[in-house]
């Protein structure tokens, strides 16, 4: 017997998934031949050397062999690390025994690290000094002492990272979660070390953050927002069952997305604050405020650029959508190569003021104080030094932002105040 209502539902369902043909809307919105875009992205990735087995068609197993080799190296490193921890725990030295193997590792760090943080001496600087010492073949006692101190610091860091991992494992009450964590420990350790090395390279920030560097975040949990874990759902697409797949293959999915979203909210300040808290420093994420300089008399519009890890992009976008009503949304896939070009342009634009400030110092040379004042140049040596220092810090900061932005997806969020009527309805 025919059921008109059901027929209607079935007809509607067919319409919902109706194939989209080459003609009509697809061409109108420029969406034709998505496979070509995908192919371009894939080729760009191959050229950039970011991916992966397909990069060299002649040597098919090369990528897999490399992965196996890398895994082997990782396992060997873990074994060495564990052996090192065991050795140090058996033979504590006066300089590094504080906090080893204790639950309160977050509170403890070595005296050497403490001194380093207190003195404000950057790790980058001490590393540079060590390198210089090495290059000059200085074989005296001072060099040995410094090398030993550096080794102690590295050991402390490794030990405390391990302590934090053990602490996290102890907190896991669910057996399955603990198993998952155990599987992911190498990735987490790798992430932590990568972060540490980046913080060291950050230079001026590293000195101030020295203490933080040596204090693992005991509250940090490995969860679904971790980029590596977030990509695990993709494993079956590699032709592997999920449990057989190597999550590390998926942890480096390099595609980037640029999105623009306009949301209407009842409380702009609260939304702005919530947005500011989305980026997580451990993934190198950060936000930038975009001031509305074009029209100061316009309605209050706050604009924020969130630079998010690709694996957390959709999660962040979902949270933004949940904050209010989406007025407009656009997105486009970006490639690391294109992003690098944009980042360099960005760096050039944003370091230009600092370069101009440095130029004023150069211009001030050879002039009298009266002439400098007349030309609005730094008058005395202290002022010139201050200008140079400020310019240098600015350039370093801008370059750091540039470096980070090259690996992150970007969400440009505009927040608008919802009309009164909408707020009342809500």
């Amino acid at each position: 017997m025919s059921d008109p209502k059901l027929d209607q539902i079935e007809q509607g369902l067919r319409a919902m998934t109706e194939p989209r043909t080459e003609s009509g809307p697809r061409q109108a919105d420029g969406s034709t031949e998505l496979w070509k875009r995908a192919l371009e992205i894939s080729r760009a990735e191959e050229r950039a050397g970011l991916v992966h087995p397909g990069a060299d068609r002649a040597e098919r197993p090369r990528g897999r062999r490399m992965l196996i080799a890398l895994n082997a190296v990782g396992v060997a490193a873990m074994v060495l690390l564990a052996a090192g921890v065991w050795t140090i725990m058996q033979k504590p030295t006066p300089g590094n025994n504080a906090g080893i193997g204790t639950e309160s590792s977050a509170e403890s760090f070595s005296p050497a690290a403490s001194e380093l943080a207190d003195s404000g001496l950057s790790l980058f600087e001490s590393q540079r000094q060590a390198d210089q010492s090495s290059e000059s073949a200085f074989a005296g006692q001072a060099f040995e002492d410094q090398t030993l101190a550096m080794a102690d610091e590295r050991d402390d860091f490794a030990i405390e990272e391990m302590g934090a991992a053990l602490s996290r494992s102890a907190k896991m009450t669910d057996g399955a979660e603990a198993e998952k964590l155990a599987d992911l420990e190498p990735a987490a350790d790798s992430l932590a070390r990568s972060r540490a090395s980046r913080e060291i390279a950050a230079g001026p920030e590293a000195g101030a953050d020295g203490a933080r560097l040596f204090k693992p975040d005991a509250t940090a949990e490995v969860d679904n927002s971790h980029p590596g874990i977030g990509q695990m759902a993709s494993a079956p697409e590699a032709g592997l069952a999920l449990e057989d797949a190597d999550a590390s293959v998926m942890a480096f999915d390099p595609y980037l997305v640029n999105a623009d979203i306009v949301i209407e909210v009842s409380d702009v300040t609260a939304a702005f604050n919530a947005l500011s808290e989305l980026p997580r420093a451990e993934f190198d994420e950060f936000s930038m405020v975009v001031p509305d300089e074009a029209n100061k008399d316009a309605e209050p519009i706050d604009e924020l650029v969130l630079n998010m890890a690709p694996a957390r992009f959709n999660q962040a976008l979902g949270e933004i959508r949940g904050m209010g009503r989406v007025i407009e949304e656009r997105r486009e896939i970006d490639t690391p190569a294109r992003r690098a070009g944009a980042a360099i342009d960005w760096a050039l634009v944003n370091t230009a003021p600092s370069a101009a400030a440095l130029q004023t110092v150069i211009d001030a040379q050879g002039l009298t104080a009266h002439e400098r004042a007349h030309r609005h140049l730094p008058v005395d040596e202290a002022e010139q030094l201050e200008a140079v220092r400020d310019a240098f810090n600015q350039i370093v900061q801008q370059l750091e932002v540039t470096r980070r932005s090259m690996n992150l997806s970007r969400i440009n969020v505009s927040i608008r105040q919802a009309p009164e009527s909408d707020i009342i309805e809500e």
């Binding site: 017997m1 059921d3 209502k5 059901l6 539902i9 079935e10 509607g12 369902l13 067919r14 319409a15 919902m16 998934t17 109706e18 194939p19 989209r20 043909t21 080459e22 009509g24 809307p25 697809r26 919105d29 969406s31 031949e33 998505l34 496979w35 070509k36 875009r37 995908a38 192919l39 992205i41 894939s42 992966h52 087995p53 397909g54 068609r57 098919r60 759902a233 993709s234 079956p236 697409e237 590699a238 032709g239 592997l240 595609y255 997305v257 959709n314 999660q315 976008l317 979902g318 949270e319 959508r321 949940g322 009503r325 989406v326 007025i327 407009e328 949304e329 656009r330 997105r331 896939i333």
Partner: protein
Amino acid sequence: MNDQARPHLETPDSGDDGPLSDERLLALFVSGEDEALGELARRYEGLLLGLCTGMLGDRALAMEAVQETWLRVIRHSRTYDGRASVKTWVYQIAMNRCRDLGRARSSSKNRERVHHDRLEDARRAHVIPTASSIDPKLEAAVGALEEHQRETVILCYHRGLTHRQAAEVLGVPMGTIKSRLNKALEKLRESLGTTGVAPGRGIEA
């Protein structure tokens, strides 16, 4: 579609004039023939875009899902092992992308409202033609179904797949597909103000 515009894929063993199989096209792509991927895309891109639009209710997201599907097909083409047909494999990847994008979106408080709002937003922005025959109420009702029911109903009414192929894509037996589909239709009828779905209605093997 203009068949004359299609590139001719010359292969050593393709003596007949019949169309190459999906598996053969994928093999050609792996061996360096990019146009073989283009031919695969011509067969499935429109279907996938329709499927993903139905799954996500958002054309922009659907386009992203399809593009990512091709990206993953390209990346993993070498590891395709032939256990499932290429068609099923491609659809499985597309469904995975839809699930990922859909889950990210469902983190917001009210999924049904967001689903409907986004559809309206997209229409307002002319992303989806206003002349579309999609019923917004039905769209919202489908969006409110449980994930496995929504997937089942979308796949089963998608023109590109038989119910047996839908079962392969979802990795479940035909019996499960039938029961899920019945429950989903029943829920849709309830949501849309009617009751009593005839048992087995809409099932075609």
